[in-house]
Subunit: 199 residues, 2 copies
Amino acid sequence: MRTDTKIAPRGRGRPRKFDEEAALRAASQRFRTLGYANTSLDELAAATGVNRPSLYAAFGDKKALYLAGLARTHEVVDLTFAALHGVNYPREKMLKALFIGAIEGFLTGEHGPSGCIAVNTAATEAVMDADIRTALAAFVALQDGWIEKLMAQAGSADPRGDAQIASSVIHSLSTRARAGTPRAELIAIAKKVTALLLT
Amino acid sequence: MRTDTKIAPRGRGRPRKFDEEAALRAASQRFRTLGYANTSLDELAAATGVNRPSLYAAFGDKKALYLAGLARTHEVVDLTFAALHGVNYPREKMLKALFIGAIEGFLTGEHGPSGCIAVNTAATEAVMDADIRTALAAFVALQDGWIEKLMAQAGSADPRGDAQIASSVIHSLSTRARAGTPRAELIAIAKKVTALLLT
DNA sequence: TCATTTTTGTGCGAGATCGTACAAAAATAC
DNA sequence: GTATTTTTGTACGATCTCGCACAAAAATGA
């Protein structure tokens, strides 16, 4: 993953000192680690290298920044699934790619395994905040839908059912990663589901 | 579920005006809805009817109160699983009891479906807080362990594997409930996994 | 060179939040 | 009746947090 991006010139006034994409990445990372409510704007400013007024100018308030981070994650996940689309994997290899990819992603993080920002931070806010709930639902639907497509492509007899189960287990793998479950156990669970789905 | 409990006399000084169990229930409910970070002590005081100094005297600080709520949930879940232990259900009926029980519980809540306090609020704090991470891991292990026991009792050929999958799907059902997924869809997912586990 | 535009960065103000100090209240023990 | 013990409830201080105001800075356009 490239971390250096250019700062596009924006015409008239004083040029920006920060890259919006990079700032969004850093902010998302912080939100993922700490959760929405635990992440203060001071921390976001420190993490992004952008001070609060500039963050507000660029993204709006805290919630808008969080939603932008969720949307960015949504895009990244979308692209990741799209990359598997059209690749001619049999079901077993496809499932392995999905689970291993998810697990390795969930195990990354600034302060230990951090799982998925949507499953483990958006879900917390979802009950009280309709916007975040909508974004979470869209994220879940995106994952369910893509896996269904991939299962169909790989010749599953029940793509919808297989996708719902695989997707659900991925949600749990995210939560388990945050709980400190070691990689080997996560992989063991993935293998069990894979075997079951292949029967 | 009984909501009225007696206030036991505590010997010497002025008697308590509140029931510790009832206060813990109310506090847990609030934590489950709002998440740990979003729940202020003012809200807890209002929800329990106990003012802050008394809450501190009875439970310690905010985190101790949250952990006490998690522990109480742990006990309740433990008792619920224990009730199914020894009951002579075949696998299908046992799985149905597990999934339906989970789903109906997840759909309750003060402000819409609130899922599971451990999966959807403890997981958020787990990365930064070792105590909460430990409690979450214990909760997950409790559920995995019980379902394994129940699957073995019901004659599963791979109780461990079946339990990991069923337990994982239950985690996802909690998250999906908070995302606003309707009951019918949650039940459909449960049915799909049940069918798969019975093959 | 001078005006215009946009970003930066300091600083602030209103409000929320946590935890506790302290006196009054309500019980028991002697 | 008096002393002792425990809880209650008000009040407070210290800190954090959010969002913005405002002047300085750094670019472009005329």
